[in-house]
Assembly symmetry: C2
Homo-oligomer: 212 residues x 2
């Protein structure tokens, strides 16, 4: 959070954050084209003229939501994980922080609108799409490098690092489609279970036995 204060893309919590969250929620429920700027203004409680003070148009709104999501990933997952030198601890930090980030943003219907919308690349223009794809790619490369380091240290099972990295992404990102904060499982439990399943599938038992 300190790093974020130094070079903020969005200052939280502020009006922009509120608009992104409200808009993402509406777009997830109704679809991108069925959601009007009016709907968003109404839900935030500002006038239609007021909302254009913050957002140019719907395409740039979608792009803004995606960058907002990637900024949060950068702040809460990538930056803290980069600070961890040991690849096993780094992998644990990635899983833990990303799973917490997603589950913390899930609504009562079991959806995390910001995370879900990051896949809506079809709504962007080509330049915007390239930017978001680059940011995602950088995260993927970081995760795969971590797997490669684990392999070098003999801690990774005999698995392909590309499939391993994408499989872990799948497990994590899918949280944004199912986890209900008002359900049986607390988010901390879900994070613990996901960590167990992921590390059980990726790390050699010897590596895990020596983890403390």
């Amino acid at each position: 959070m300190k790093a974020k204060k130094k070079a903020p893309v969005v200052t939280e919590p502020d009006r922009m954050t509120e608009i992104y969250n409200v808009a993402a929620q509406l777009i997830c429920e109704k679809g991108f084209d069925a959601t009007s700027m009016n709907d968003i203004a109404d839900e935030v409680g500002i006038t239609k003229a007021g909302i254009y003070h913050y957002i140019e148009d719907k395409k740039s709104l979608l792009f803004g939501i995606m960058n907002f999501g990637m900024d949060r990933l950068e702040t809460h997952v990538i930056r803290p994980a980069r600070a961890v030198a040991d690849p096993e601890q780094r992998l644990r930090t990635i899983i833990n922080n990303h799973a917490l980030l997603i589950t913390s943003g899930n609504n009562a219907r079991g959806h995390n609108p910001i995370t879900i919308l990051i896949e809506e690349l079809a709504g962007l223009n080509p330049a915007q799409r390239r930017k978001i794809e680059q940011r995602k790619r950088a995260y993927f490369d970081f995760l795969r490098e971590t797997m490669t380091k684990l392999k070098t240290e003999g801690k990774l099972k005999e698995v392909d690092t590309t499939v391993a990295a994408f499989s872990l992404f799948g497990m994590l990102l899918w949280l944004s489609h199912w986890y209900r904060p008002n359900g049986r499982l607390k988010k901390e439990q879900v994070v613990e279970e996901i960590t167990k399943i992921a590390l059980g599938g990726l790390l050699r038992p010897t590596a895990r036995l020596n983890r403390k």
Copy 2:
């Protein structure tokens, strides 16, 4: 495949299948609202009047694509897996067949439009949405029951079956966002790797040692 011939929902390969595949591809690239019935007709090579012989409107087209996807899942994954009594073999059948079904439908850009569109629930009316949600729920329950049976037999690790089932879904469904058929890995290799990672995370080593 035999079961499909006995009670077909869609006869493959036919014009409907072609329309669904072409439409799903276009919608994935351009977005649902930016894709017109005209675009689809053009791409299939029939007239605009001709396409309305097959499809009532765009909402029912989206619903049709989703049911088409769920029918394929039923035929190639759920039905064959239900025929397997042993829960460990059943789990292997689910992973193997679902991973193959998805990767076989991925395009050169690394996307499986049919699988991706199954998440576009916002484009449906409430009755249609309920139907698709029921079909997905039935598959989830089937997968979780399989996990529960493995737990009863002492073959599952100490993991929560709900988190386990959703994590496996995440790994499998994410294939529809990344696997490129023209890339380094053959789909059979990816299926093998995913099976290794998933079973490594879910099954006790003793269960896996006795698997043959």
